[in-house]
């Protein structure tokens, strides 16, 4: 994984605590498959439990990158198409279909933008994303998926999402 330049993160102690907390919490359905030595980049495997729209053996991969301004700034979070090398059972990695998840992996979630506060954490992001899938009732892409994906920046944090749908 690429390294973040310019020495240790200003909030390195918090990053370490969060990493230790994640290992200890061992969240059901969430597995850390990769992490950078700096604790500022992660890949998680997310399995959705108890939602027939997403079969339990489907695996989705979420990339979490801690920015230099974390935790006053939200992390960069998106689904990615990731292949686990040493996992023979792994089915083809997909971007989950959801009205708030674009086919390029970008997620429209208020917690990742306007409603982020330093009291949130990698763990709270993981739980929110998992519950976004867990509570979903329609297997659809966002209505503007094609036009968004065509023009989207690589970094979803550069998109100014509007959050208008509190029901999903």
């Amino acid at each position: 994984m690429p390294r973040t330049p310019a020495g240790p993160h200003p909030f390195q102690r918090r990053l370490l605590k969060e990493y230790q907390g994640l290992v200890k919490a061992n969240l059901p359905g969430i597995t850390m498959v990769q992490h950078a030595d700096t604790m500022s980049e992660y890949i998680f495997r997310i399995q959705v439990q108890h939602n027939p729209l997403y079969p339990e053996n489907d695996r989705y991969y979420l990339s979490v990158r801690i920015t230099r301004e974390y935790p006053v700034d939200s992390p960069q979070v998106q689904f990615i198409k990731y292949e686990e090398l040493d996992d023979e059972e792994a089915s083809e990695a997909k971007i989950p279909i959801h009205p708030h998840i674009y086919s390029n992996g970008h997620i429209c979630l208020n917690l990742l933008g306007d409603d982020w506060t330093p009291a949130c954490s990698v763990e709270s992001v993981l739980l929110s994303v998992q519950s976004l899938l867990g509570t979903n009732q329609v297997l659809e892409r966002p209505p503007d998926n094609d036009s968004y994906v065509r023009h989207a920046p690589l970094n979803p944090k550069l998109t100014k999402f509007t959050y208008h749908d509190d029901d999903v």
Binding site: Q12, R13, D73, T117, P118
Partner: protein, 132 residues
Amino acid sequence: MKVEIVEWHAFSTWHWDIPGTGYEDELCGICRVSFDGTCPNCKYPGDGCPIVLGLGCSHNFHLHCIMKWLEQDTSKGLCPMCRQIFLFKEGTFGAEDGKKLQRLVDGHKATRERGPNESDQEFEAFDGQQVE
């Protein structure tokens, strides 16, 4: 028996006296380090890296941590923990720091009173009709 003290060393410990909380285990909600420790940029705890007590809400932070948060527009001047408008009690830090903190709090207040910001209005105007 007579005891003669030849030499003695005094020592003391200190901690922030935060009224009404179990201060000992309390961590700054931003850097997740104890109040008796420092924010990530400071070396010496205590007066060198003071704490700020929330007024209205009961959340406390290292001064330097909460300032960093309130410097962000995205903070909207809210407490990171409970999202109420962040106000603070005087007395745990110096006058200079107090002024800086007050400026940040006032800045957000002014933004709130101005209502929806200009860029939002532009976006809506653009959405409706394009001006030649």
